[in-house]
């Protein structure tokens, strides 16, 4: 079947000098039929928790839940929504006496569920307290190791303005490959577009395979060099060389896999550049582009594990486009105000936009990409004034191929979030019974998995 491919002309026609966003996604894809519908896992991070801790979660459990103002934008998606209150970053509480910044602690526990690596070297330019990276692998990366081999990219990390006021610090990194091994997100939409789609439609399979063969040959040579160097250095340095080696090996093996046909039909040509993605004035536009790119990457099956980090934990962003004129973090310590609610509603609208885009993506069998995904809307803390780790944000969108019963709000009554991570892992088809620090809990949350 002839697959329609988006030509460079078509892309630029849509851009027309003033870029509006990605052209119609349908034009970029071949219709595809899955033998088995793949499941996707997406982390969607917004900073600084909530200032309406009592109202934030619906007072009702079951299907007739009422959403608060700051999550009301999700109302059109209520049948796809699963709200879980009463989950806590219990393990994060044990790190509080370290004296480190609580936003950093929360962020490091969020996806890893283990004690963080406190380090005075990362102290204080953000808050005059120490900080540290996660003490273990993040769930998305763990899933990527398990199921990521089936796609061109085991996972993709997207971010918008994730660098803090004082440079890249632990507040900037929610994804980790292991203890003290942060993984950066891509903050430039044009760069990530090139990375994902430059080998797309327009190139013949032969040409791509030849390019891959060359790359593998070079990487093979480099790998041998690294192995030799590994034998020349001491134990501490060897760990660095090892993670370098692992990354080379991963890339090599990805290049050795046969190219999934569907990703070849996705995208080509140049990307409509909207403006400096590092300029905070462009934050909303860059966010929109990132969400569009994530949607496209998921629809094209370039990956099944993705994450989007908006700003950074303890963000000081001033959201002028949402009529806010103070730093987010400053406001978050001053109680709930209409100005702050405006900011949080803006974030909720982004989550809604993204989920709607996935919901509109037809899998070809009556289900949508969202139906076969779970999107976890998460944050570094819950009640921002006291940096609480109780009732952490768990808004799940998508039933993950029917693994989760959506359309309801449930109270977990104070469960450690390791069990949430296990729940999500099981929903993604990995049947293991523990994740992170198992002393806090094993097994999934009761009553959540279908």
């Amino acid at each position: 079947m002839r697959t329609p491919r988006l030509s460079r002309r078509a892309l630029l026609r849509g851009a027309g000098g003033v870029a509006i966003g990605l052209p119609a996604l349908e034009a970029m894809l071949a219709r595809k039929a899955w033998a088995a519908r793949p499941r996707r896992f997406i982390v969607f991070f917004t900073p600084n928790g909530t200032n309406r801790p009592k109202e934030f979660y619906p007072g009702q459990t079951g299907a007739n839940f009422v959403l608060d103002t700051e999550s009301a934008p999700l109302e059109p998606l209520r049948n796809k929504l699963l709200v879980l209150s009463g989950v806590a970053y219990e393990s994060a509480k044990r790190d509080i006496p370290s004296g480190a910044d609580l936003h950093s602690i929360g962020l490091s526990h969020m996806l890893s569920g283990v004690k963080f690596v406190n380090d005075p070297r990362f102290y204080g330019r953000v808050s005059n307290q120490s900080a540290g990276y996660a003490g273990g692998i993040s769930l998305d990366q763990y899933l990527a190791r398990k199921i990521g081999g089936e796609t061109r990219f085991p996972s993709l990390e997207f971010g918008v303005c994730t660098t803090t006021d004082f440079g890249v610090l632990p507040f900037s990194r929610m994804i980790s490959a292991g203890p003290n091994q942060p993984i950066p997100s891509e903050n430039d939409p044009a760069a990530i577009f090139t990375r994902i789609f430059s080998e797309g439609g327009g190139s013949s399979t032969t040409a791509i395979e030849k390019a891959h063969a060359q790359r593998r040959s070079v990487l093979d040579f480099v790998r041998d060099d690294l192995t030799r160097v590994r034998g020349l250095v001491g134990p501490t340095d060897r760990k660095k060389i090892d993670s370098h080696l692992t990354a080379i090996r991963d890339l090599e093996s990805r290049l050795a896999r046969p190219l999934p046909a569907v990703s070849l039909s996705c995208g080509s040509g140049s990307f409509p550049r909207m403006g400096d993605p590092l300029d905070k004035a462009n934050f909303p536009g860059t966010t929109r582009q990132m969400m569009d790119l994530m949607t496209l990457a998921l629809k094209c099956d370039a990956t099944r594990i993705a994450s989007l980090q908006l700003s950074w934990a303890r963000s000081t962003l001033i959201h002028t486009w949402a009529n806010a004129h103070k730093s987010h973090h400053d406001m978050s310590h001053f109680g709930s105000t209409p100005e702050l609610t405006g900011v949080n509603v803006w974030y909720a609208k982004q989550v809604a936009y993204f989920a709607q885009a996935l919901a509109a993506a037809d899998e070809g069998d009556g289900t949508s990409v969202l139906d076969n995904s779970v999107v976890w809307w998460c944050s570094d803390v819950s009640d921002a004034i006291i940096h609480s780790f109780d009732n952490i944000r768990v808004f799940l969108l998508g039933s993950c191929g029917g693994a989760l019963r959506t359309g309801q709000s449930l109270s977990m009554g104070g469960q450690p979030h390791q069990k949430l991570l296990v729940t999500l892992m099981n929903a993604m088809g990995v049947p293991e019974n523990q994740f992170g620090d198992a002393t806090y809990g094993t097994g999934p949350l009761a009553g959540v998995l279908a």
Binding site: N128, P182, V229, G234
Partner: protein
């Protein structure tokens, strides 16, 4: 939280450093190097101290160091004559103690590996677009393989920053032959270059050779020393003169190292390293990234921010490389501006785009601390910030940050009240003892900058009232006392040994790529002594090459 407050009240009058936001009491006498988390060790020991006389060689940890983005760009520019700066597209680097070249925080992710690969492919494509030029001979007349064989020896030596062993050269040549056979001549060369640009010998500064001095202390080979010199003083690969010195064995002795260092600090390339140092130490990125209220400050555009940053780059590198000492950073009576920047400051002088030296009105301005870039970077979007500015002075310039705030404190600044001054609005920091014990270290310093608004321009009134820019430093080693305004403050800081020692510590961290430890106290003392004789930065830079830390490395236990 209430328990902590109870304990504070029991002690009555609080000793200065007893803020217990985290439950830790900090030794009030531990003022050397900063009692808080920013000062890592108890402080330098002078060369005459018993611990330092005839002390054994203790280089401290010598972790493997990877090229930073800036170093990568400079290196490929010098290696391949390529100005495309591919590393600007690499993932932004994690910082350790404010510096991206801190070895401990350097890590490699899958994304970075792909970015290295893409960069190598693009660099090789550009380089092989003119093969005779790249190879240094004409393959058509000399023969392809003969050309490449020679090229690999020469290029390999420069790419790996040391001569290749014959086996290495053979292996590279074999790779070229295989690649050429599979594809074509140009691809063969390109793939070989790509392999070298992704090799650990290129991306890391490997220090694995040479005999140990004793125990785990090892010397460095001449070539390893050449790289230490070039990356610390120029942020790039060694030049031909350094390679020659290495080959001739001149870098095997401290004296030979010093000779090269003296040449290098006088070379314009020293600006590359100095600019990297100062942009991180003074956090110049904030000039571009700090959000400002566009309604209040419409002139604070991205273009202006870039000019303010450039002013500081020119000023600080001029002070450090042309004119002298720590004092000059703070009491330099000049700066650099172009026409647009002069208009912003409201001064006359430069006529065009080019930056020129401009003398300062010393009633209002003196040294780096009165430059708008620094003042705007350390302010809020719509108001000044005595806390940010005071903290900047204590942490960045004195290496003595206050202890952290209590976990539950409300850190929201008061709303700008058009009818009151900043000083009035921060009254609670003085009135509430839980706040005051730490804020007395910051606010009174920051109030000294009240004549410069949130975007760094001079102002005479605040909230309609005349400005009171009086301030006070307390709890420092040698700079305590009242002052009035930033000019007087700057003069005092310029004379402070603590500030000078802090600068030495910052250069230690940047120059050696690691934090200081107890074993470094004598090294820091020696560096302080070298710096304070004349107070010339170039002396400090050269002195950094004469320490045990620089001239040796520690081979970790378990190393082969």
């Amino acid at each position: 939280m209430s328990r902590r407050f109870g304990r504070l009240l029991l002690f009555g009058v609080l000793p200065v450093f007893a803020c217990t936001g985290t439950g830790r009491i900090i030794d009030p006498d531990d003022r050397m190097g900063g009692g808080g988390m920013g000062g890592m060790v108890p402080g330098p020991l002078p060369p005459t101290a018993p611990e330092c006389m005839n002390a054994p060689v203790r280089p401290g940890p010598s972790p493997i160091r990877r090229l930073t983005r800036a170093e990568y760009n400079n290196t490929v520019r010098d290696l391949l004559d390529d100005n495309s700066e591919p590393a600007n597209r690499f993932a932004e680097e994690e910082l350790g103690l404010g510096f991206s070249n801190n070895a401990v925080v350097q890590s490699v992710s899958g994304l970075l590996i792909e970015q290295y690969e893409t960069a190598a492919a693009n660099l090789a494509a550009a380089a092989t677009s003119n093969l005779p030029r790249l190879l240094g001979c004409d393959p058509a007349t000399r023969g392809e393989d003969a050309c490449v064989r020679d090229f690999l020896g020469n290029f390999g030596m420069r790419a790996y920053r040391r001569p290749l062993a014959p086996a290495e050269r053979d292996r590279l040549f074999g790779f070229y032959m295989t690649s050429k056979a599979a594809h074509d001549f140009r691809s063969g060369v390109s793939m070989t270059v790509q392999a070298m640009l992704q090799s650990p010998d290129f991306l890391y500064r490997l220090e694995t050779g040479t005999a140990t001095v004793s125990g785990s202390v090892a010397r460095l080979s001449g070539y390893e020393m050449a790289s230490r010199l070039s990356y610390m003083l120029w942020a790039t690969m060694p030049d031909a003169a350094l390679f020659e010195a290495a080959a001739a064995g001149k870098l095997d002795r401290a004296e030979g190292v010093r000779e090269q260092a003296r040449r290098m600090v006088d070379d314009p390339r020293a600006k590359q390293a100095v600019n990297l140092f100062q942009s991180q130490w003074l956090e110049l990125d904030k000039i571009g990234s700090a959000q400002k209220d566009g309604g209040l400050f419409p002139r604070f555009t991205p273009v202006l921010r870039a000019l303010l940053r450039k002013e500081l780059e020119l000023l600080v590198s001029d002070v450090m490389l042309n004119s002298g000492g720590a004092r000059s950073l703070f009491d330099a009576d000049y700066t650099f501006m172009n026409k647009d920047l002069a208009a912003y400051y409201g001064v006359r002088g430069p006529a065009g785009e080019a930056f020129e030296k401009v003398m300062l009105d010393q009633k209002k301005y003196l040294g780096v601390l009165t430059r708008a870039g620094i003042l705007a970077a350390n302010a809020k979007a719509d108001q000044t910030s005595p806390v940010l500015r005071g903290f900047f002075v204590r942490e960045r310039l004195m290496c003595a940050p206050p202890p952290p705030p209590p976990a539950t404190v409300n850190t929201t600044p008061p709303a700008p009240d058009p009818s009151s001054t900043t000083r009035d609005r921060f009254a609670r920091h003085r009135a509430d003892p839980a706040c005051a014990s730490c804020h007395q270290l910051m606010d009174p310093v920051g109030f000294g900058f009240e004549h410069y608004d949130a975007v760094g321009r001079w102002r005479d009134t605040d909230g309609g009232k005349a400005i009171d820019a009086s301030g006070e430093i307390i709890g420092s080693q040698d700079a305590d006392g009242r002052f009035d305004g930033a000019v007087e403050l700057s003069t005092r800081l310029g004379k402070s040994p603590q500030v000078r020692a802090c600068l030495v510590t910052q250069w230690f961290r940047f120059g050696y790529g690691r934090s200081e430890i107890d074993d470094d106290r004598c090294t820091l003392g020696a560096l302080n002594a070298a710096f304070s004789t004349k107070g010339d930065f170039k002396d400090l830079l050269v002195a950094l090459t004469q320490t045990d830390v620089f001239l040796h490395r520690t081979a970790e236990k378990g190393s082969p």
